[in-house]
């Protein structure tokens, strides 16, 4: 019987979660977006309010559901729901945010239980707008939080990049495939 697995994408507003899911999904991503009504509006006109949903169909019949969390904190009640049963967490961080390291701490704190049970990989997006040092700083912070420094620069639009992230996630969970 086919199994259904879940990978969760999270990160701040406009960090590329939806785009990353779109890059991997076999179906058009199901959005639950709405017009942004607060300061998010300055970043993008619409934002995910409940979740994004994409799907990968595997040759063995299994399916991987790709869920993106809402970026705005006031929808964070969805985070726990989406985190349930997830295989692992992909955290997208914007290199040009005011403090990507602070964002990292926030999201690791929120999802620590899931990370402890499964695995975390971090993709740094918008790297063309920031210093290349961001990846190192995030790696150092991961180590200081006693997590593996599994971080790489990522263009969420590029399927190969996002696949490399998920690939690293898979090997984090099962190192000897």
């Amino acid at each position: 019987m086919a199994n259904i697995y879940k990978i969760l994408f999270t990160g701040p507003v406009s960090s590329g979660k939806t785009t990353a899911i779109q890059s991997l999904s076999d179906i058009g991503v199901v959005h639950t977006e709405a017009a942004a009504s607060d300061d998010v509006k300055t970043l993008k006109p619409t934002t995910t309010v409940a979740m994004d949903y994409g799907l990968m169909r595997l040759n063995n019949g299994d399916q991987v559901r790709l869920y993106g969390t809402p970026g705005q904190k006031r929808f964070d009640f969805m985070w726990d729901i989406l985190a349930r049963d997830a295989l692992g967490l992909v955290l997208m961080l914007k290199a040009d945010a005011s403090s990507p390291v602070d964002d990292l701490r926030t999201y690791v704190g929120e999802f620590r239980e899931l990370i402890d049970k499964t695995a975390l990989v971090v993709g740094i997006t918008h790297t063309d707008r920031a210093t290349p040092e961001v990846r190192r700083r995030v790696a150092n912070e991961l180590v200081s939080m006693q997590l593996p420094p599994a971080v790489m620069d990522t263009d969420a639009r590029n399927r190969t990049h996002v696949a490399a992230l998920v690939n690293a996630l898979v090997y984090s969970i099962s190192p000897f495939l």
Partner: protein, 408 residues
Amino acid sequence: MNRVLLAGLTTRDSAAMDILIGMTWRNLECITLERQLSKSMALDLPEQDAAARACQICIVDLAGLGLRNHSAKAESRLLEFLAERPALLLLRGDGNGWLNSKLARPPSPLHQFVAAPYTAAKIRRALDSARRAAGLAEPSDHRPHPEKPARQEAVSAPAWKRALAFRSTRDKASARQAPLDESGLEPVFQAFPELRDQRQLRFINKLLLSSDAQLLKVGKVIKILLHPAEGWLATTQSLTKLGRLQNHPAVATSVETIPVPDSQVESVARECYGRDYQRLQLPLDLAVWELASEAISGLDLSRYNNIGFQLTCLPNLAHIRHVRPIDIQLSVICARVPQTIDSLINAFDRNRADVLRFVALSLAAGLARTWPASGHEAVSSAPPLESEPLKSSDQHGFFRSLLDKLLN
């Protein structure tokens, strides 16, 4: 620190088991006993030294101990070897009588038979029971999900993060070791002494020896602004062109190097590349990885000095050209658990060249901390044999299918 004795396993299985356990439990460390041959050149029970006898749990490959077939005598010898310690007993096929023995019936956490091919999840579950039987279990570890038993194997992946190497005894031991000289490409040269004479690497090394910013001028056109302390270089040239450039015999002698004070880096960058110079910045580790990859392409790296290392940052895998799945696999493993070159080769003995290339490039790119290999790692060596470690299962099939999908 609690210890698990690995006995009778092949080199590859031992190394894989060592890594798996190291990634899963923070308080478990493996001690490996090499396979031993009797006078008649048959596999036999090895002698246990004090460290082996002090282990609280055993993982033994029955065939590798010369106990492939069950008999009263074999059972007695095994029990004497185990000395009442909880054990995972690895066997093949129908068990050659072991599954009908007193040890197997009724099933007991003290003696758990695990038939090959065994999966990582199967080993983790069995070892969890053994840990409880030995009084070592921590209730919060490796908790199955209460609501979705069908997905339990995937969801209940272990709390490996707690097992991160820097929290382990092995890591503490490595941290106590004086690090190798990590200036420039020195770690690469320490591990692969023959590369010291490689022209392109000598050139890269020269660039990396200073942590101060510098402007390199090659001829009248090519300008490379290098800032090792901030981890970037800026150039209008592609990495492919830089690779070709470093191959040119005259480049090492024709490069003009101009030191740039920190206070002038930005103005020099604007002068060379315009106001948008940031779009021309490349992570230095990525650039060095690509250039070193070009430099060592086709070279035989098989003569190496064993060293210990652990990645402090993953290679920039999404951006590296020609990245292979094994690069990702090795990156993840080496970011979690301190390794030696020997231990990696043991675990990936069919990918020896890939492992050596990965190590050389990781060291070149400055992604690892390094230390001289100590006696500790030497315990994980034993003669190679045939078995397939940690393979096959629904979960394995799922992950394989997922990787196939991601690669296509």
